[in-house]
Subunit: 237 residues, 6 copies
């Protein structure tokens, strides 16, 4: 039995509020249960030096957590003087994941920065960031297309992410914090709307897992991403 | 005429949503027009070294701004490797202001950290942070009193803040960003519910002002703080 | 009774030694009692990016304290890896204050950096820095005018600063360290020679003050700034 | 055809020199083709604060690259003032992977730090670090067991890692740098000697992959890890 | 001919003002020509961890330069975020040099920190810092002896330093900045009052020198240190 | 008697393996007894700003130590956030020393960076770095000359370095770690193949030395450098 009473293959309630802030070209507050992430997308004309003049676009991401998004207060990274290892790892994942779903030729030589800031955390913040980040990206690209700055849609297939893991010996979908902190195996699955894989990360902390278990988690993930993509489409229709 | 069409002595719409996040001992999302600040209060049993064993409590504050809270994206302070000078100045002000309204003997030897994170900025973020921060503090202290950890109320008089300035030659209350960026004189007035002064900061950028103008701004500020305290009381009743 | 035996409205002895160092375009060692600050002004042809090509000049300031300027040795900020919050706050104040007294069109597109380094501290270092910094600035501008690089004097009205506060229930002028560390209310008043206000900062640490008290401090400040401007004029005549 | 002329499922030549440095409790220079990593294991009696008094041991890892390990010189991270995001990500992976193969009760309350420093890089440095790091760890633990400080062997099953990816449309084992920089999909597979999975990371840069391709890479990885474990056993016999 | 018109073996005018600041246990402003260094000595009861409980004392030094001590303004090290390589090298030299002249048993388990801050630079700042630093140290130790905290004098033999170099092909004593920036060979000689050597550093920038030239510089240095020690004794008598 | 049983004027065994890594334009692993340093030379077309357009070349050096090169593990400088004072001092010395042996006109406007990374330390790492660094430099320059990019040899005279000191009252050559940690006087002597002096550093830690002792160390150093230059020539012939 899961602490939340959910079925093994049941996701938490998903809610998406687009336009949560007014300055960003795209913004959304995504809530996956008690995990709340504010995602904004910023369009800039400059691109990183290594693609200058290539005609290709770039999508990058940054991730942060408010000090009291968690059960006990965490030190603010700006006062610590640097982003922690976990933060760096997560924002690199978000950036790679979103880029995999972008036709960079169609985007044209511009950069979109997706900021994912966790207002409240209850497990699965990196997956919520990818799923919500794609919505902010979608809204920003819509603005470019409406203005005629981009002609052919660079976002052909949505990108969403779900965590699945082995909790109490059972494969479960969408781990919340109580599950996540106990799970022997924890995986993040980033896929497109057509179930193409972008990134798969499965990790055992202090244990190991079999190839069979890996396949069970993959099955759960395909179901979960399908539901998230439906929610993304509804929010950005 | 003000860009927003407001009267010279008219504040923007104030909205306060308490309990905006679930982990913090006190939390509120305060909206002063388009300036939105998420304030949380965290209670900890430890105090800073310089008051250890004194029996006195401590209240401190930290301030941050999400990268796209503003019209153009700002660099995240955690990647810059330090808090900027403006941030440091503001969070020191918030901490001093809230402390002035606290009976530190009544609070007892514990620390409350008030985090003020700007989700959306349109001028007056430091004043909104103080006003909203006091609400988070109030809610956290209520919890301490309910639990019997604190007997006599350490928050005898509310603390609120308003900015007033000289815009287009006229004294105006509660400057929004278009006014703030043009104002020749800009002041922040932090007072208690009984109109006792906690901190007064008046500053001319590239100009000067007279003692008469200073008094006009003081008059406006007294009116504004009165309205904010009414809103604070309503939100925490 | 004040610890120093001074009258309530009596300033400490003021001494100004111009040309204290030889490399700077302007320099002065200002002594306000036992507070000794070395101020230098450096002229550079470059200006900050945001005013490049505008024809306007810029004045900025930096502040530092030698490790043993104080009663107990403080850690050197260069080994701490950053300027502390107090330092940042003070140097921003010095810069803003001096800029308010400068006709930036008359100065022309050049930058003057005023460095204020406290050799010995006994309270009121930020006010001494502003008063002494203006002298260094005056001397540097004199050099520009003598060389014909600047035609019309950009420093029409001197800028000086004085701290006043409530000590032992009484309004007093020019707090020294023993008073400053006990004062319930502490204010810094930056004005021009014609008593126009540039910046007013009044702050209560752990208490509050009335509008009447604020006016008493203002009265003291006007007297004090008058005396400081007389000394500035004598030193730079 | 692979640039190196290798078969699709062929690993580069593996060479392991144990005892490469004399101070460390365990050390090895591992060469996987032209990728050379010096791994050392350091035993310390202290453990991280969060397990103090638990009786459990800890294994952690750090990763570095000499500035000219690569084709063009990279900036030294110590002069950059921090470890880059890639470094942090890699060393966290090495630490997690090695820990998964350790019986922390049997190790007892001590910490082993595995340093992996790349002397020469030609792709696959993180996998070589894990495979070589386990050898250094094995040697250090042997020393503990010989001294009687550890009774039951905490390293029941070796840990090794191999990268596999899709290069030119084909699944290939053990990518070298020319392949790695072209591969559309790149995976790192960390397993035990009994083919239990510890961590699986598959990532598409600018593309996607199917579940079938994922399974092909898994098959290659199982073969590769088998060969590496044989080499580890030979080197530490 | 030397730019200053001095003889080859002639030192600049030396002036020493003790008690230049009031808080430090010892302080002196030393002027070697136009090189002016403020030296303070701070006594603390704590010692570095590596000698705790040994009964031995410690002497350490820190070095700084005001931004406009030099001909063109240098960036403040506190804003650069770290001490530069030259600063670190110099302060380590000062510390080692002063320690060599201290009987650490006689000093007892306490630390004296000597801060050397260059107010105005014209070559030879590290040597002036050592010579002036010893005076501050002497005054601080006098205070300890007067108070009876130290019985036997830990400063048996003064420590002083002089730079000598090859300028325009000639060995010269006490290089000023114009000479220093042209000299092919530059040496710093730290000795005691009895001409025992503490540290000798001779360095050729873009050239080399012979053992004969080295001996000529040694001869000059012995003469110079003799004169400096006479000045030290006069100032601290 | 020396701990190693060596004669007073006997150097440790010297071994040099050129081409130790494949990417660098020049590389060598130098072993002086148990001190092992990997030296690489990187040629770049850019030069530092202060010589841009001068036609002159530049040689610079960086130094590092692997965390477990020493008897107890040292903190990695990249995680400490900066290079330590000792590191900075050493790499500046290596750079100066190598530059002194370079005809910068003949080198032409390009930069060669010599990285010296200590894989295993047993005293004398800075001297081994200079001696080995010159070999890497020699090999890189050979490549430039072979390619016709440099016509006249910029390395006319080899550069090598040896440490000599007073151990147990006796002057000894090439101190190893057990000697170095006990030596009262320690010197580093950097010379050319023709015995011209480049840099001489003699330092007493907690003691002093006489001019006679200095001359004895100089004699030893001349012998030692002669042997090292023979080894350099053999390795690069």
């Amino acid at each position: 039995m899961r602490p939340s009473g959910r079925e093994l293959n049941e996701m938490r309630a998903v809610s998406i509020e687009t336009g949560f802030t007014k300055h960003a070209e795209g913004s959304a507050l995504i809530k996956i249960g008690d995990t709340h992430v504010l995602c904004t997308a910023t369009i800039e004309d400059r691109v990183p030096p290594f693609i200058k003049g290539s005609g290709l676009g770039w999508v990058t991401a940054e991730y942060g957590m408010l000090p009291r998004a968690t059960n006990t207060r965490m030190r603010r990274e700006s006062t610590a003087g640097k982003q922690g290892g976990r933060t760096v790892e997560i924002q690199r994942l978000i950036g790679r994941s979103l880029r995999a779903g972008v036709d960079r030729v169609a985007l044209g030589e511009r950069q979109i920065t997706v900021d994912c800031d966790v207002l409240q955390a209850d497990g699965g913040t990196r997956c919520a960031s990818i799923t919500g980040g794609w919505i902010a990206l979608r809204l920003a690209v819509n603005k470019l297309m409406k203005a005629g700055d981009v002609i052919s849609d660079p976002l052909v297939d949505p990108v969403a992410a779900i965590s699945c893991g082995i909790y109490a010996g059972q494969p479960v979908m969408d781990l919340d914090y109580p599950e996540d902190s106990e799970a022997g195996v924890d995986g993040n699955f980033i896929m497109t709307g057509t179930k193409r894989l972008i990134e798969v990360q499965m990790s055992a902390e202090g244990s190991t897992f079999s190839r069979d278990q890996m396949n069970q988690l993959m099955d759960l993930a395909e179901k979960g991403v399908g539901e998230l993509v439906t929610a993304q489409r509804a929010a950005t229709a």
